[in-house]
Each structure stands twice: as C-alpha cells, then as structure tokens.
C-alpha cells in the first residue's frame, strides 16, 4: 500500500535548479516511488497536483516536500535523504571548489562566526591558539595540559581585562547550554550552575545530581590550577559572575581540587556578595568529600538525597594488606587519597598529598598506592587514559599479581569524549585480575543516565566481571578502605 507524505516548510528556500537535483536524489532512495521537493509557486503546485499529491495551503516562499512511498516505514529514510540532498545543494551553490580548511583558530572563528573556541593542541602551542579567541572577543576552553603556569596567568589576566572566560588550561570538562565540551556528561537542563577547577570532580557532581533528578544549567571549568596561589582564582571569579548573571541559575557550587587556602578564602568572600547562593565543595584534608557536598547541595535545593546506585555483589576480602588505586580522574584520586589517608595512613602516589609520598617512575611501591593515570606526567606523548586505557590495564595486571594487594579501587568515567565502551576492555581485565584469588575490585563508575556509553550497561558489565560498582567515588573508596582493614587487620 503506497503512503503519501506532504509537508510544508515555511521560509525554507533553495533555487529551482538545486531543488530539481534534490528531487532526483530523493526519488532514487530505496522505498521512494516518487518525490518532488519544490517551492510552492503556482506552477509547481499544479505539477504536484498533476502527480496526484494533495497539498495544504502554501505560498511561493514555502518549500513543499512531497513523497510517495512504497510503505510508511520508508519515511524516516526518505526524509533523511531530503535533508542530505538539501544540505548538499546548499554546499554546491557556494561555488565549485571547496575552500581549504582554516589553519588558525582566528581563521576558524572568523569563518564560522563562532562564539566559543575549544583548544586541545599540545601545551606549548595552547596559549597562541587561545589568544586568537580572546582577540576575537570570545571565551575559550583549553583542554591542553602542560601549559606553563606563567602563560596561564598571562592569558587569564588578559581575559579578565576583556570580560572573557578562560576555561583551563587542563580543563577536562565543561557544559555550556547543555553542550558538553571535552569529557562531559549528558545532563538535563536545570537550575544548578557549577564552577569546576577539576574535571572529574565536576563529572562526579554531574553524575550524582543526575541520579537525584536535578538538572544543570551550566558547568564552567576553570582549570585545575585556577585556585592556586599563582593564578588566584581569576577564572573562578569570572565564571561566578557569569552564572550569577544567568537567570536560570538558582544555586552555584564550586568544585575544586585542594585549593590554596588564601585564594579559597578570597573567592568565598567574593561569592558571598553575589545574588546567587554559592556552595563551595573544595577538597582537602578534613573537608567533606564530593558526595557529602552534593548531598548538602541537594539539601539547599530541597531535594531528598537518594540512595546512591550500587551494582554487583559486595566484594569479599581475599588477603593482602595494601589498597591499590588506579584512577583516570585526578580529583577522584585526590578524593580517594584524602578519605583513605584518614584511616589507612600514608598513601604513595604520583600526585601525592605531601611530597615525601611521591612515587618514582616505576609507579610501584610497597603499601598503599594510588595512581592518577590522567596526570600531566603520564600523558606526555600519550592519549588520556579515558581515551586510551592501555597503560592502566597493564598496571592493573601488575597490581593484581602482587600478593600484597588487598583491594583494587578504580574509576570509570563516562560521557562525551571518553571511550565508546570502556567496559569492553576493562571488564575482561577485571575478570583476569580476579582469576587467581578473587581479589576484591571496587569501581566508581561516574556517569549520567543519558551518557552515550549507557551508565547501567557499563556498570552491569563491570559487575558481571566481579567488580562492586558505585556511582559515588566516596562510597566506593569507603568500601575499599573497609575491605583493606579486614585483611590488613587480620594480618596484624
């Protein structure tokens, strides 16, 4: 049974030659018996009626898409063909040859009339590209790491003088108007604004808010060093101003790795004068973890705290005495170390809480160890572990083979920019790690329900491999600490 589809697209326009080509392309689509895409001029209306189409009222400035299909199921493919052919026609009308791509950010901004730049070139060239954005009067997000701190300060000062926002450098995550930049989770629009001097810290808050059913207006990254003494929170202040000026933002939360105390104090004082209430979720010794802070934010919002999701069966102890953390998220690693150090004592790390706890290049040490594989030192000449898991997986096997290991604690971070299916490689690796002695593996799986990888699908795949999986990194860490105590305590 043939199906007829006629739609009017008011105000859409293409010239008649282009539309003849479009009609011919669409008619060649499988399942399409006849197609006519035309401006609804008197002549064309007659032609369409002659073809047996019934038309609603339309004028010469309206485009008509008229399709006769072999059956209704062919409609989506046919409409997609219409859109593709129209897009191709537009491209063709701008001239025969395709212009060479832009070679600088300045050129790209000019050509596209873009109002945001996204910079992820090697750190040595990041400032140069970012300055193109600041010169053009637009904000910039700088994903690049290894940018010298004096360069960061120079560009942030210039941005401040021009009323612009530099998100980064080493800014992993931002959400602007629902659009995720860098490693960002898919969130529903809402009333919370986030300022984040921490990519994965921001992602943890996004994930928890999503689980609690709270939407996010924007998450503005500022770079991990923004609240350091050297930078002094320049971008944090600009981001706070922006969120304060946005009528859809009702509450703001500032998330940061351990900040410089005097900078944190100054920024808190600054925030106190804003019209929008600002909560500070700043990690540090003796400070609440991100989950606790998010729960407090939910309290501010009058939203009940849900039971944070857990997948898989509770892990059981299997001997050993040391907690071994393998992270892709720097802030998640920081948070885990801060929690674990309180009850387990010193944690060796490549991003240690104090300098004497630094690991050497082998990343191997006795006792409790937590490694941030996303740290600058481990990403030189290599993709971020959220993209390329090779290094962490190698280390997972090494740690699993070490009889001293009592628990392995890991994070998995979902969202735009991250691996398409991290569990595809990590789940078998976890199964292999547990093959010898059912080693407990606790995973914090940070993501939202709408993330492209599928939060529950990922978490369930990891759980099926024997991991105990939490949405909350703090909850996962507490479980890992408890499991370490059981066996370490038993050994004593």
């Amino acid at each position: 049974m043939t199906h007829q589809h006629v739609e009017i697209r008011p105000g859409a326009y293409a010239d008649s030659v282009a539309l003849l080509q479009v009609s011919r392309d669409v008619a060649a689509t499988p399942g399409v018996a006849a197609a006519q895409v035309a401006m609804a001029t008197e002549l064309n209306v007659e032609v369409l009626q002659g073809m047996g189409f019934t038309l609603p009222p339309a004028g010469a400035n309206d485009m008509v898409v008229a399709l006769r299909l072999e059956d209704e199921s062919a409609l989506p493919a046919a409409l997609a063909a219409v859109d593709a052919a129209l897009a191709a026609a537009r491209k063709g009308s701008s001239g025969g040859e395709v212009a060479a791509p832009p070679r600088t950010t300045a050129s790209a901004l000019r050509r596209a009339g873009a109002d945001l730049a996204l910079v992820s070139v090697p750190g040595a060239s990041a400032l140069v590209e970012a300055m193109d954005a600041l010169d053009a009067g637009v904000d910039v997000m700088i994903f690049s790491d290894n940018v010298p701190v004096e360069q960061e300060l120079a560009m942030k000062r210039i941005a401040r003088d021009r009323g612009l926002l530099v998100m980064g450098p080493d800014c992993g995550t931002a959400v602007v108007g629902g659009v995720g930049l860098g490693f960002a989770n898919t969130v529903t629009p809402g009333r919370v604004g986030i300022v984040a001097a921490s990519g994965t810290g921001c992602q943890q808050v996004l994930a928890l808010l999503d689980a609690a059913g709270v939407g996010v207006a924007a998450a503005l990254g500022v770079g991990g060093r923004d609240l350091s003494a050297a930078i002094g929170g320049i971008s944090t202040r600009t981001a706070l101003d922006r969120l304060d000026a946005d009528p859809s933002v009702e509450h703001v939360v500032v998330v940061s790795k351990p900040p410089a105390a005097e900078v944190a104090a100054a920024v808190e004082k600054y925030a106190a004068d804003l019209g929008t209430p600002v909560r500070f979720a700043l990690l540090g010794a003796g400070q609440p973890d991100l989950t606790t802070q998010t729960e407090a934010l939910l309290g501010d919002l009058g939203v009940a705290v849900p039971a944070w999701p857990v997948w898989g069966s509770p892990a059981a102890p299997a001997g050993g005495s040391a907690l071994r953390g393998l992270f892709v998220g720097g802030t998640l690693c920081d948070e885990a170390m801060l929690l674990a150090a309180e009850s387990l004592g010193p944690i060796r790390s490549n991003i240690p809480l104090s300098p004497e706890l630094a690991l050497d290049a082998s990343l191997v040490a006795d006792g409790h160890v937590m490694i941030d594989f996303g740290d600058d030192g481990l990403t030189r000449g290599r993709a971020h572990p959220m993209i390329d898991p090779t290094l962490r997986l190698e280390h997972l096997a090494k740690v699993a083979a070490d009889p001293e290991t009592a628990v392995i604690l890991m994070d998995v971070v979902l969202g735009h920019g991250a691996q398409d299916d991290p569990a595809a490689e990590l789940a078998p690796a976890i199964a292999a790690a547990r093959a010898a002695r059912d080693l407990p593996v606790v995973v914090a799986c940070v993501g939202t329900s709408s993330d492209p990888q599928g939060l529950s699908r990922q978490a369930e795949a990891l759980a099926a491999a024997g991991a105990e999986v939490h949405l909350s990194n703090a909850a996962a860490t507490r479980r890992a600490i408890a499991l370490t105590h059981v066996t370490a305590g038993g050994a004593r």
Binding site: E97, T104, A112, L116, A124, V128, L181, L243, D246
Partner: protein, 470 residues
C-alpha cells in the same frame, strides 16, 4: 566586540583546534564546528610565539597598524628628478632591497648600477664603472627604502632620474618611485646597452618633464582608488598593470595634450606609456609603500611593513622592530621563461616590487588577475586558492580593494609574522625574473616566496622586545 555567553545558552558555533575527537563530540551534539587544520609551528618558534601572543600591546598594535595603513590615500602629486626630491647627489645610487655592498651584488643589480653610472656621466662606457663601485670612494649605495622610495627589480635610482611623488594628504607624508622603462632590455633588469641609456635620456629629457607638467596641471591623481578599480579589471598591480596604466593615461591625457611640448613629443609619450603595460607599477609600488609606512614603528605590532630583495638577499621589515632588516637568501622563482632562457639563466629574486604583496595585492590578489596566471606558470584554481590562503597569514582585509571572484572579499592585508610562523604559509609573490648575468635583461616571470628563516628571526626580535618591556 565581546560575546559574553550566557552559560545556560548553547554556543552558536565552536571553533575547534587540536584533537579531532573533541570537535566530533561537539558536532555530535548538533553544534556547528569549524575545525582548524593545525600543524606544529616552524621549528624553534613555540616559545617566541607564546611570548608575542601574550604581549598586552600586540592586538591593539596590529589593529592600529592595519587601520593606519587603510586610512592612507595615495595621491600622485608630482613628477620630478631624484636630485630635487631626495637630494640625491652625483655618485649616490639607490637600489632595491635591503642594504648590500658591491662585492655581494648580483648580476642584474651590477648591470643596472653600471648603466646608471654611465647615464649620470660618471663614465663613458658602463663597464668602466665597475672600478668605481669596487673602490667605493666616489660612489655610494643605499636602499630605496631608506629614502622613502621603492624601485622595481634592480631598483636603481640616480640623481637625474625622474620620479613619481605620492602623497598622503592627511599627513603630507610622501613616497617616490622612478618611471617605468618598459619590458625586455631595460636598466631595472640589469641591461645597460646603448638603447637602454638612450631610453633613459629620453625619459629624463622628455617623458619626465612632460609628466611633471601634466600632473601639476591635472591636479592630484588618486592612486589608491585606481588600485581598487584595477582589481575589478583583471590587474593584480604587480605583474599586470594594464588597466591601471590606461586609467592613469585617461586621467592625464587632457593635460598632456595641453602641455607646452610638441605634438610629436606628446605622441611619443602616449605611444611609450600605451606600449608599456607595466607603466602603472611604478605608481602602484609607492602607493603601497605610502600606506605601509603609516603602519611602521608601532611597538608590539607583528605586521610586516616591507618585503624587498636586492638580488642576493630577501629582507623584511616589521612594524614593531623599527628599521631593522631580517634577511635571508633570495630564492629562484618558479615560472616560465622567455625565448631560449631557462632556470640556469635566472638570477635570484630581486626588487622592491614585493611591496605590492606586502600591501595585499600582487600575488596576494592573484585571484583578481586570471588572465596572467599562466604567465607566472599557475592555473586559475591555484590563483583562487592562493588568494584565500594568504588570508590565513594576514591581520585584516582591505575593503577598498575587493576581489570580485572571491565574492568581493577585501584583499588580504597586513602580513602577520606570528601567523606565518604558526602556519608555515609563506607570502606568495608574483615576480619577473632577471638574467643573472649583468646586461642580459628579463628572462622570465614566475612565483616566488621569501626564505622561510627570516620570519622566525623577526619573531625572535619581537619576542625579545616584548620581554624587555615586561
């Protein structure tokens, strides 16, 4: 012009540079993305690029440089001898390009100097002048650029040569250029035979005074406006000046006819100018220099204000580094040859005429002159691509000089040393080729670029000055 985004509003479009996956992730969220085809900068320039990019003076300095340049109106206000205009004295010679001593001069520059010495009566036989220049006691060499002048090819100017005078009425600043001799065996290509000297004498005795009288009677001729019209008429004002030449003749014809000279002399002048499609080049060049000189000496500006070659060295000057020349070896042009000449006969790049490219025309506006793309060994698509590519290394566009086939986009204007170092794209120059042996003349025409090394050198000096200011 700041677009402070409301954080809850999605960006209209994003410019993405670096890892393609992030650009793809944005595009997947239905936001238009313009991807930069990024490549690492020229070797060893990353630190200097960052220093210069973060210079608080740079952005406004470059905007000022371009706007000063575009504000200039170049009016042809006179024609007079170099001795009067520049105070050039017997034995003083100007030449194209950065400074050079006789020992390092190339064939065509030597040929032109020998011919000019004979023209000035310093010697009877041009070849006898070599000893004068070797000893250097009675003669001196100086770049045209150091005297507010420019000269095509060898660019040799001696006191008795007549020069066009271009003036910016707003400031009274002036620039100068000799009169164009035509093509073939001519002094500027290094030829110095009797016919070359005879022509120079006629230009001194007839053409120069006649033009001087005509310009004075006609009143100032707007060279900047003619340049804009030329681009609509198939000229790029470096290797094709046919429309410009005709427009200049049109403007001067009534006063030429009314001049005090005989009808025969006037007819000779018409025939000479009408037979020389390059006649207007020597007006275009000082017009370009007049505009670019307005952009000089702006601290922090990375804009190139002169590109010039002496047949041995290619030199550039940059707004933010004063009169300093950054030089490297002049390159051989790639192009087509006249008659039996071949690449082995050609001298490296020579002339101040790259001032046209510095100002955004010539090779930069090749798209405006499809008729001559084959003359320099190119194709029409190459010409379109070149004119677009030059936009990647310039600070702005010149709306007074639109290029029709590029949808009237303004000529790419203000070469940015930083952009050249970032992209590795070198300025494209259309050029004539002189024979490398003194006395030969023109052997061909083609395309050439500056030596890449001079841009990092200029950048390093800009960075040094930036650090000194900090």
């Amino acid at each position: 012009m700041t677009h402070a985004l409301l954080p809850s509003t999605a960006p209209a479009a994003v410019a993405a540079v670096g890892a393609d996956m992030f650009a793809t992730a944005v595009a997947d969220q239905a936001v238009p993305v313009e991807r930069v085809e990024w490549t690492p900068p020229m070797d060893g320039t990353a630190d200097d690029l960052a220093t210069v990019a973060a210079d608080p003076l740079r952005r406004d300095a470059n905007a000022l440089a371009v706007s000063r340049m575009l504000d200039v109106q170049a009016m042809l206000v006179g024609v007079a001898p170099a001795s009067e205009l520049l105070g050039l004295e017997r034995g003083q010679f100007l030449h194209a390009g950065p400074p050079i001593e006789w020992a390092r001069t190339s064939g065509p520059l030597r040929g032109a100097l020998l011919g000019a010495a004979a023209f000035e009566g310093l010697v009877e036989d041009p070849e006898d002048a070599a000893a004068l220049f070797e000893s250097g006691t009675e003669v001196s060499l100086e770049p045209c650029h150091h005297r507010s002048a420019v000269g095509p090819m060898a660019g040799v100017v001696s006191p008795s040569m007549w020069m066009f005078v271009l003036e910016d009425p707003a400031t009274g600043r002036r620039t100068y250029c000799s009169l164009n001799e035509g093509l073939g065996k001519v002094l500027r290509y290094g030829a110095y035979g009797p016919e070359v000297l005879a022509r120079l004498h006629w230009m001194r005795d007839v053409l120069g005074p006649l033009l001087g009288e005509a310009v004075a009677a006609a009143g100032p001729v707007d060279a900047t406006a003619i340049l804009g019209q030329m681009l609509q008429m198939g000229d790029e004002a470096h290797n094709r000046n046919r429309a410009g030449t005709l427009m200049l003749m049109r403007d001067l014809a009534p006063s030429l006819v009314r001049s005090s000279r005989s009808a025969d002399e006037i007819a000779e002048a018409f025939a000479f100018v009408g037979g020389n499609d390059h006649f207007f080049l020597n007006v275009a060049m000082p017009a370009c220099k007049l505009a670019l000189d307005a952009a000089r000496d702006i601290p922090g500006s990375t804009m190139v204000v002169a590109m010039a070659r002496n047949g041995t060295d290619f030199g550039i000057q940059v707004s933010g580094t004063g009169d300093q020349w950054f030089t490297g070896p002049a390159q051989l042009a790639d192009g087509l040859f006249l008659g039996d000449y071949g690449p082995e006969d050609a001298n490296p790049d020579i002339g101040d005429s790259a001032i046209t490219e510095t100002a955004g025309i010539g090779g930069f506006a090749m798209a405006a002159a499809p008729a001559i793309v084959r003359f320099v060994g190119g194709t029409v698509p190459d010409a379109l691509a070149t004119s677009r590519r030059m936009r990647e290394i310039t600070i702005g566009e010149n709306d007074r000089w639109p290029i029709p086939v590029l949808d009237f986009a303004g000529a790419a204007t203000g070469i940015d040393v930083s952009s050249v170092c970032r992209t590795g794209i070198l300025p494209q120059i259309n050029t004539g080729m002189a024979g490398k042996v003194a006395g030969v003349g023109q052997v061909g025409a083609g395309l050439v670029t500056p030596p890449a090394s001079i841009f990092p050198a200029a950048l390093a000096e800009l960075a040094r000055r930036t650090r000194d200011r900090a």
